[in-house]
Symmetry: C2
Subunit: 535 residues, 2 copies
């Protein structure tokens, strides 16, 4: 299939190798103008779920039996085919999301880099994680059997495309990459805000499936506007896990559906985070204005539509904080409005900012310039710690470029604010050497609250690597034991299987004698070198 064929939007749902169309359709909205975009897309619903799940279940035993190299090559091929879509993909994504071309170009690089990182991790044994314990036939009172463990994919996985990362957390995003890397077929529930972007990427994945000779059910894409579509996908008995990024309400609804199935399944929902930033006294004194500039840059980036957007700034009251506030207010006032992803998100942002402004103990410090339809005007508020500790509404996420400064009377109040926080994706400390003692007291509390702790940086910008954690205690996620970014994310979709005394010929290659796949293996509790053939 040529790149040209692949970029010809049809509006079809991708059911394995088959295009599905029908009478019910919806269209994407260009959020910058509020106008509908061509073409019309098939509105997938519960009726299509059964077909996609059946294909995925059929593909699962074949797909999970692929070698690490075959799976890695498939992931690499997806990356290549996304790149081959060229400017068409970026242009369509920009129309559907209102995000700037430069941002989307960077996001595409993150998406393909993510696929290739998972490919390298699968090649390095990160999916199989084999462990071997040698037989001890002479042991008394009982001999020990030969025991070998490897991990396999859980089964078909449903991935919900996120609106705010139309490439990196949508059809071929982090959840899809990690589930495919684990050996799980994927059904993507496409986000209805960017169906064209989704179809383009979905066709790239389908082309890679065909080229690799994999069963068609390894990948399907169903896009629709109804909650029933997502609910039916999570409820289908053939689905074994779910990846979701979105609202707290949406994530919890899926968790409830998954928990009430006859066979409950895990839902990895990344939901809500306000990403507190602590400006410690010496750092604030030394560089209040520079901190304000960095803060407003992070706050307004991408119209504030990041899960890691800094929605809370905590500092001690005093002249240094006044300097920070003055500089931040000036920068926010000068910040232009920016188009948000959807009319719904823009509407919710407006309501969230209005609700904050109405709070009696909250003062609006600044707002950014007016914008067109569906625009986000950046907004900055201030309150004091006592009010924050009293009023739960002040902890709610306002998705977009709004932030609240918390003025603390003293270190005890700052510690009390930290202790009162809900679970977060990130917590940030700005500090100098003189702040280390205070930071050391806050750190144990922040470790209990957040998946990632930063010093002297800003939480937006999530590196895709081995040591990343994009996760955290509830309600940041539904399961703090995992991450949705970075290679550790693969563990969400794997389960261990142990083989006891199986003849070598019947063992999977990952745990066979002679280590034919050349994977790193834990042998009798010790990492064995790759060349190691024992036992």
């Amino acid at each position: 299939m040529s790149a040209m064929d692949m970029t010809n939007l049809t509006g079809a749902a991708l059911l394995g190798s088959r295009d599905l169309t029908g009478a019910a359709t919806f269209q994407a909205i260009d959020p910058a103008t509020g106008t509908a975009l061509e073409p019309a897309f098939f509105e997938a619903g519960p009726a299509e779920v059964g077909q996609a799940a059946a294909l995925a279940a059929q593909a699962y035993p074949l797909y999970r039996a692929t070698t690490p190299e075959a799976r890695a090559a498939f992931l690499d091929a997806i990356a290549g085919k996304i790149e081959a879509l060229g400017d068409t993909l970026i242009a369509r994504a920009a129309r559907e999301t209102g995000l700037p071309v430069a941002r989307l170009t960077g996001e595409r690089a993150r998406t393909t880099g993510q696929l290739r990182l998972f490919a390298s991790w699968v090649r390095a044994g990160g999916a199989d994680e084999p462990r071997l314990d040698s037989a001890l036939p002479e042991r008394t009172p009982l001999p020990r059997a030969d025991l070998r463990l490897r991990h396999i994919g859980l089964g078909p996985v449903v991935v919900f495309g996120a609106s705010n990362f139309p490439l990196a957390f949508s059809v071929a995003g982090g959840d899809t990459a990690s589930a495919l890397a684990a050996g799980c077929p994927v059904i993507v529930k496409g986000h209805p805000a960017h169906p064209g972007t989704s179809e383009l990427v979905g066709r790239a994945i389908r082309a890679a499936v065909v080229e690799a000779g994999l069963p068609e059910g390894v990948f399907s894409l169903l896009t629709g506007t109804s909650n029933e579509l997502g609910g039916a996908l999570v409820a289908d008995p053939r689905i074994k896990a779910v990846g979701f990024t979105g609202s707290r309400g949406g994530g919890l609804a899926l968790c409830r559906i998954a928990a009430s199935r006859p066979e409950p399944i895990p839902v990895f929902a990344e939901m809500s985070s306000i990403n507190p930033v602590f400006l410690l006294p010496a750092a604030l004194e030394a560089r209040a204005e520079a901190l304000a500039a960095g803060f407003v840059g992070s706050l307004t980036m991408g119209a504030g539509q990041f899960c890691t957007n800094p929605g809370l700034v905590i500092a001690m009251a005093g002249p240094a904080l006044d300097r920070f506030i003055a500089a931040a207010a000036t920068a926010v006032s000068a910040a232009p409005a920016a188009t948000m992803l959807t009319p719904g998100i823009a509407g919710a942002y407006g309501k969230g900012v209005a609700a904050l402004a109405e709070q009696p103990e909250v003062t609006e410090l600044a707002h950014g310039g007016e914008g067109g339809v569906n625009a986000c005007r950046p907004a900055l508020f201030v309150t004091d710690a006592a009010a924050f500790l009293r009023e739960p509404l002040l902890s709610h996420e306002v998705f977009g470029a709004s932030s609240l400064v918390i003025r603390c009377a003293d270190e005890a109040e700052m510690a009390a604010v930290a202790a009162a926080l809900e679970g977060q994706l990130t917590a940030t400390l700005h500090l100098e050497a003189a702040d280390h003692a205070l930071a050391a007291r806050l750190l144990p509390v922040l470790e209990d609250k957040a998946g990632r702790i930063l010093a002297n940086g800003w939480p937006t910008g999530v590196e895709v690597c081995h040591a990343m954690v994009h996760g955290g205690p509830f309600p940041a996620t539904s399961d703090p034991r995992s991450t949705s970014v970075g290679t550790l994310a693969i563990r969400r979709f794997l389960r261990p299987v142990c083989y006891q005394d199986l003849p070598d010929a019947l063992l999977p290659a990952a745990v066979q004698a002679g280590n034919p796949l050349g994977l790193p293996r834990l042998v009798d509790g010790t990492p064995a070198s790759i060349g190691e053939t024992r036992p």
Copy 2:
């Protein structure tokens, strides 16, 4: 505290360092005689849960901050103090459970071995699992920050003691050992069938807590007979995970409570498994009688009260199967009755066997000798594959020494039985070289059904090691991504935390420059040698 003091049963609940007593009490029953045993034990209930959870929450930040060496030494000390209880522990456990002294002596060795294995695993970095990604300040378009990941304990964990392993899966059993190894305080909900055994072991753990200078809330033991006690423990907001071994109904009830909390938490429930054993044709032909002897030995061991008891035998109809059946029936007829753990379990066994016997398409092949009060008479049944595939009741676990032989007409029927199985802890193949082709066809199905696959062995007897999986798809467990036996079990109770650009002085030792703890670490995606100090 001398060993004598430690073995003086008081009937108290152990709330941290405090003994709790009260008016409401219950007594253990000697199942061999049906008589109540002294002393009376305090009936803990929801009122005590809040106190234990508060202590555990208070202990958590201090306990999770202990070094791997400190935590390992604590686990080693618990093992030593259990051994120091000597014959007193075995004698009390034998009275309360009806299990033979030899079995309990072996189980004690498994229990202390398990604690020491987790100690060695924590020393080897199995709790922290550190990962470091180096900063790339020159990278374009954006530099990479310095990123370091380690794992920390999730928080206070509730462990439900199991009736069938009064030592190895009770107060200081596998769930407790793995949770303590992970850095989580533990509240044990003691099983009311062996409260004296529980108190003895609980006091051993308390003594180790005191000796190690750890906060008292690291361990509490609440024993009671009500469902409300367990429900209140799972519902308490300070509890962050649950380990359970027991019935399907009990496990699912706890899962529902955990899922409906404002903050849902994971429940690792090991529930129900009938552990299918496939006798492949060449093996059956070669050694039908030896297989029958091995099978009945595994079936009747410990009155069949193992999670891995072989409750289903699947083979092709024919003369070889007839030989197996004849030999197994003779062995079962000769098998003595054995005391079961509790009157409730004995009653349920009797009902389960009676229900099987009443099935029109099931034939009773043999039953063992009559026994005294609460005795289990081993029982063997046969049916054909078509009946098994039609009647769901035939797949239900009968906890005890009862098993059902499934006669298959051909390989297709054998494969259909395999495909119809629910999730299992184990699946076993007895095979010869001539059976490899059939085994290779069955294996992918069995991998989807079971956590452990054995060849030419029996599923009872679970090795505690690195490559063990004691887990499996629902309903064997509530989460197939984990195991409750072996060092991999520690991952259930850990969560990753990432540190971005933190000054070395503020980093936890596990990820500091210079690797002061000497742990194996993944550096830029590659295992670094322990001496490695970069980055």
